[in-house]
Symmetry: C2
Subunit: 98 residues, 2 copies
């Protein structure tokens, strides 16, 4: 996927295709809070995401407390949300469903 | 280690024995920012800490962006910093040194 910044319209289109992702107030970024059964479940998911993120060379900002993980995605190089964020968001959703 | 809340004096003593940990403003908690070489190094450390935390049944609040991990430790049950936080902080420091 492209590393170019999505326009507002493209970003709105993207958010309609994703489940539970929303714009971050005051930043060009998207966010979602994932809640798992417990810490093992949450960190297991983070580990899978970490391998994918490293392979993509595109990393999340994320905050974990026990079974909750708050994720923010943005592409620093592009100063906004790009196709890379869309790809990582979709991968995160897929991995959370398993 | 004890799960009882440390007094202010005990907390100050603890912080003198730890490297780089400080009180959190406005909360009974301690914090430290760990900076690693890259994401693999940072997440590798988080994985080791996660196994220890799960074994202790005592989990950090932590925020990761690429090679940086900001950690906050507190014991929710005790409404403050306890020996469990001290133990986890020391384990984190040991694992970061390897």
């Amino acid at each position: 996927m492209s590393g170019e910044r999505l326009s507002n319209a493209e970003l709105d289109d993207l958010l309609e295709t994703l489940e539970g992702w929303e714009k971050v107030e005051g930043r060009e970024a998207i966010q979602k809070t994932f809640v798992f059964a417990d810490f093992v479940d949450a960190f297991g998911w983070m580990s899978k995401v970490a391998l994918t993120a490293e392979k993509m060379d595109h990393h999340p900002e994320w905050y974990n407390v026990y079974k909750t993980v708050e994720v923010v995605l943005t592409t620093h190089d592009a100063d906004g949300v790009t196709g890379k964020d869309a790809e990582l968001a979709k991968a995160m959703d897929r991995m959370a469903q398993r």
